[in-house]
């Protein structure tokens, strides 16, 4: 199980990446500017034509929770990318030669990546009132739980892909091909339509959809328009299962010891 050296290593990795993140102003600016632009441009462009069936909700308000998830998704993709370069020549190599288990290395990396993702999401959430979600009416514990679980799940998935693929181009290719479509059909940009049962089925099998759904409920209340049918508890349970599965995958991947290059 987790021993004292493992806890030390988790703490070190966590602290290190947070310091690195906050020490690079360009990353902070990019982390904030990109979703704001995305939300503003796509949101405004779609606002004129988009009508949510059975609701008068405007598109900027509908799209906002989706962009929150996009922030988490991109942060998880980009922060776990460092696993590849750090593993063969870099800080992680020294950590791997240290006294902690591979599992601890995975946890440290995943926790730190999730923290960066949550910090970026928090920065973007400052704009929630502009989207029509007053900060005081937000269900913060639910929001934190949903975003933390999906962040851990995505970061662990990123770790596993990074470890197995082991090159930056391949990592990007896989992550972008896998995750961007998943995000698009998560209900982030448009709801599932009863006329497209296949799309609905994909959505129900898509963990990101449950994160979007829980985020909608946290921001707009239990009956928020666009949320999937079902309870918040079910959303969180699916997300917890997703996080547990990808964490297990990441630990399995990290235990494979590749040949030195």
């Amino acid at each position: 199980m987790i021993g004292p050296y493992d806890r030390a290593t988790i703490g070190v990795l966590w602290w290190r990446d947070l310091v690195r993140f906050f020490r690079q102003p360009s990353r902070l600016v990019g982390a904030l500017a990109q979703p704001v632009l995305f939300w503003g441009i796509i949101g405004s462009g779609m606002a004129a034509t988009f009508r949510l069936p059975g609701s008068s909700e405007g598109y900027l308000r509908y799209f906002f929770p989706g962009v929150v998830l996009m922030v988490v998704l991109f942060a998880a993709i980009f922060t776990t990318l460092s696993v590849i370069e750090d593993r063969h020549a870099g800080f992680l190599q020294a950590v791997l030669a240290g006294p902690a288990s591979r599992g601890a290395v995975v946890l440290g990396k995943v926790l730190c990546s999730s923290s960066v993702a949550l910090s970026q999401a928090a920065l973007f959430l400052v704009l929630a009132p502009a989207a029509g979600f007053p900060l005081l009416s937000v269900n913060w514990p639910l929001l934190l739980a949903a975003l933390a679980l999906v962040a851990v799940g995505l970061a662990a998935l990123g770790f596993a892909v990074a470890w197995v693929v082991d090159n930056v181009q391949g990592y990007h290719a896989i992550q972008m091909t896998l995750l961007i479509p998943l995000w698009i059909v998560s209900g982030a940009m448009f709801p599932a339509s009863p006329e497209h049962p296949v799309l609905g089925a994909v959505m129900r099998a898509n963990p990101i959809a449950y994160a979007v759904s829980a985020t909608r409920r946290a921001l707009g209340g239990p009956e928020a328009p666009g949320a999937m049918a079902g309870s918040t508890g079910r959303d969180l349970l699916v997300l917890a299962a997703f996080a547990a599965t990808t964490l297990a995958l990441a630990v399995l991947a990290a235990r494979r010891r590749g040949a030195p290059r």
């Binding site: 021993g3 004292p4 050296y5 030390a8 290593t9 703490g11 070190v12 602290w15 290190r16 310091v19 690195r20 020490r23 690079q24 063969h88 020549a89 870099g90 800080f91 190599q93 020294a94 950590v95 791997l96 030669a97 240290g98 006294p99 902690a100 288990s101 010891r257 040949a259 030195p260």
Partner: protein, 316 residues
């Protein structure tokens, strides 16, 4: 210099490793005593990197065993790893963090108590001549400074074994000397046992004992002095094109052992200076680019013992 006697600190028996069909380590055994500076000398491709990865716990050997103070040291026994410090050939410091932060992170990984870590960090930075650069991001330090800081980080938890991969690769002469002074000092204070891999004769000369690694095997373990004494007298080096053919011709005409490597033929011989005029007269003008006589180096000793050139790249 005297080699410390005593029980084995780090030892191995029959380490093997293969990448598919390609055997990188073919039954490597050795026994390193506490307190000595021990080097694995071999050309690229001899299996040094694979051996280093196994010693560092990054790669499990296909078979064979590794022992620290007589206890088996396999990749799953991570806590024994706390007694080792590892310095990689590639930089493994965090360039975005300061020198101090890097050492503190290293200390935290090995659970050095905070106060102790603070004190050790200051001591090690001073010893590495980096006290005035303590707050600079590592990315702004020179190559030599970074190397000394890497070593300092590996020492921050007072390991009993310090493991280094090609420790002075890419360093200028001054940085090379300062790094080795620091490593020798470590030995002087009765600190860590130093284990390193290298392909450089000048680096190998600093070791107490050397294991000659050739094509995945240890073919000799001796002091540098003893290795050098295996080469008789002088080395006469003839630089010329077509070295292979020339070596055969020299061997035939003078009855000496001549080895070709690259664009040079080397001949080991007592009273080498007497051979030089005979060589020059025996061959037409312009056949040689240069002829020289020198004392044997560890590169010559390696060639003598392993039968291959230390500078060559071999694929086992």
């Amino acid at each position: 210099m005297p080699v410390p006697d005593g029980p084995a600190r780090l030892s191995a028996e029959g380490l093997r490793f293969a990448y598919g069909d390609r055997v990188a380590l073919d039954g490597v055994s050795f026994s390193i005593r506490a307190g000595e500076v021990f080097g694995f000398l071999g050309p690229n491709g001899a299996g040094k990197s694979t051996l280093f990865s196994i010693l560092a716990g990054l790669l499990p050997a296909s078979s064979g065993e590794l022992f620290l103070d007589g206890r088996p040291l396999d990749p799953s026994s991570r806590t024994l790893r706390a007694r080792m410090g590892v310095v990689f050939q590639e930089p493994s410091l965090d360039a975005k963090l300061t020198a101090t932060e890097n050492l503190r992170l290293g200390a935290a990984l090995f659970r050095v108590p905070r106060e102790e870590a603070r004190r050790r960090t200051a001591e090690l930075l001073a010893a590495a001549g980096l006290s005035d650069r303590a707050r600079d991001p590592v990315g702004k330090l020179s190559g030599g400074m970074r190397r000394r800081l890497e070593i300092a980080r590996a020492l921050v938890h007072r390991p009993e074994v310090l493991l280094l991969d090609e420790p002075t690769t890419g360093l200028d002469a001054l940085s090379f000397r300062r790094t080795w002074e620091a490593l020798r000092e470590l030995r002087g204070t009765g600190g860590a046992t130093v284990v390193l891999t290298t392909h450089r004769p000048d680096e190998a000369a600093h070791c107490d004992r050397l294991a000659i690694l050739s094509r995945g095997r240890v073919v000799a373990v001796e002091t540098p002095e003893s290795l050098l004494s295996r080469v008789a007298g002088d080395v006469v080096v003839v630089e010329a094109s077509g070295a292979e053919g020339l070596a055969a011709e020299i061997a035939e005409r003078f009855g000496v052992a001549a080895r070709a490597s690259g664009d040079a033929v080397s001949i080991e011989r007592e009273r080498g200076h007497e051979l030089v005029p005979r060589l020059v007269e025996a061959f037409p003008d312009g056949r040689f680019r240069s002829v020289s006589v020198r004392r044997p180096s560890l590169a010559d000793a390696f060639l003598h013992v392993a039968g291959e050139d230390l500078a060559a790249e071999t694929r086992p």
